[in-house]
Amino acid sequence: MNNLIKGEKHDWEMVIGLEIHAQVKSNSKLFSSSSTKFGSSPNSQVSLVDAAMPGMLPVINKYCVEQAVKTGVGLNAKINNYSVFDRKNYFYADLPQGYQISQYKFPIVGEGKVTIDFKDGTSKDIRIVRLHLEQDAGKSLHDQNPSKTYVDLNRSGVALMEIVSEPDIRTPDEAGMYISKIRSILMYLNTCDGNMQEGSLRADVNISVRKPGDEYGTRCEIKNLNSIKFIKQAINYEAKRQIEILETGGSIEQNTMLFNTSTGKTRPMRNKEEAHDYRYFPDPDLLPLEISKEEIAKIKSSIPELPDELKNKFIETYKLSNYDASVLTAEKQTSDYFNETINSDPELKNHAKIVVNWITSELFSLLNKNNQDLNNSPVSPENLGQLIKLISTNEISGKIAKDVLEEMFSSGKTARQIVDEKGLQQVTDQVEIAKVIDEVIAENPKMVEQYLAGKDKLLGFFVGQAMKLTKGKANPKMLNDILKQKLNKKN
């Protein structure tokens, strides 16, 4: 695979690292009992702690700590028995405390790794530097009034897990696959809802370019991207911008950038004053966070099967390809659906590949077309299983099965009902098929002549005619076999 960008004098390589902010799926905030519900009226979920009223003290949410540990285990990372909360100091209108409580020198989770799988069957490890717990800030609305900024503190104090990767990523696609994989792990663990639109999962991207083999170049950080599409766009634009500067003899200035989603361009943040002088120090309001080995072991034992384990299980049990298995396990709802379908009938275990295809191509395209989600699919796993069984036992043809699925989708009926009502059973009676073929041959003497003279392509014509007479119900393999036999006998 070529990961390089063509330059004027030499090729360029991108070096990319991601900082992902994942909102912990909890009822209340990290240090206060305010609700975390999304979309409530402004400032309705703000406690005196979140508003930084004088004298208020933070008390940590036990559940959020457990979710961070759980996520750390899911990222194959080292869990630290001892971690410390620090204050990261800066002034902004949506940060009432004047500092964010975060973790600096001693994060709750240390080094780990995740694996991404490519379509060609290869895979790559992306190393994780750390995961730490921190507070989210409030939300500022700049575009409502020409002279004012409006501030909503509902999000202020909500627990975030910041997951920092090593600069192991080399292409925009890899960046997309990496964040999809993290999202998938979070959703299997149920520690974050993964909703990028609502901002539950967002990323800062660090990117630099270099001549392959050289030292890392100077990097820029693009802040706060909330979709995989924007992440890829921003990386592409920023890499091009940096290469242009370098190729015209300039040098890159380390900068924090913003991405404009409507123009697709990045630009430096205007406010560079005192850039990054956060003056971290341990928060005197909070004792160090200590987690015992027993607590960690208890959390570990509660962890469900993760996408990679499940993927390997699918490959082993059902002899699926690495890629098929990774598509099935990318989202928990898909692997759940597959499991339920394949377990709905013992016969189906021998037709795993067919089950995969019917879910990931036929059913998915119907869901897409109707703007629906697998979670509320009108076709239940049991019903899809029944349909696939009808195919595997030759009761209906694959082609007719597609129509049946569409009708199952719109009417909610079962495959059996539809097949019986419409008499769609495949014709597998040799005599009956032979009769139809005789008819077709008798009606088209010229075509038969041409076929026998060597025009092999006409076989398709005969198949088509016979199918038409049987309303598509003839078993295609039997039809083909008998047709060839009969035609060749004429020779």
């Binding site: 909890s26 009822n27 209340s28 009992s33 305010s34 609700s35 975390t36 009226s41 402004p42 400032n43 309705s44 979920q45 703000v46 406690s47 508003a51 008390v59 940590i60 949410n61 036990k62 559940y63 959020c64 700590v65 410390v84 100091n89 002034f91 902004y92 209108a93 020198k105 001693f106 500022s140 609305l141 700049h142 009034n145 020409p146 002279s147 004012k148 900024t149 409006y150 501030v151 909503d152 503190l153 913003l258 943040m269 205007r270 406010n271 005192e274 002088d277 003056r279 341990p282 005197p284 909070l286 004792l287 160090p288 966070l289 200590e290």
Partner: protein
């Protein structure tokens, strides 16, 4: 370590505190005497000693993940100099 005019200006700016020349001079003096005093700690050998984050030996108290379902809007906005439709309204921050 010595605090000079530049350092005091930087600290003042980071803290959003405006100092006149007289005040800067006073703070330089005060902060330097505090630093001199703290600097005595340098006499202690701290090699191989982890930084101390807290002097208390008690354990971090934790709470259960229960949310209170009260609407805080009115109370929280009560002292706001300017507000609109439930939002704090502040001078425009453009970024």
């Amino acid at each position: 370590m010595k605090i000079d005019k530049n350092t005091i200006n930087k600290i003042a700016r980071l803290s959003r505190i405006k100092l006149d020349d007289k005040e800067s001079e006073d703070y330089i003096k005060d902060l330097n005497s505090i630093l001199d005093w703290v600097e005595q700690l340098n006499e202690v050998n701290t090699e191989n000693v982890e930084p101390l984050s807290n002097i208390s030996s008690s354990i971090l108290p934790k709470r259960e993940d229960v949310s209170n379902d009260t609407n805080s809007s009115e109370e929280i906005l009560e002292n706001a100099p300017d507000k609109l439709e439930g939002f704090f309204a502040v001078p425009k921050v453009v970024e």
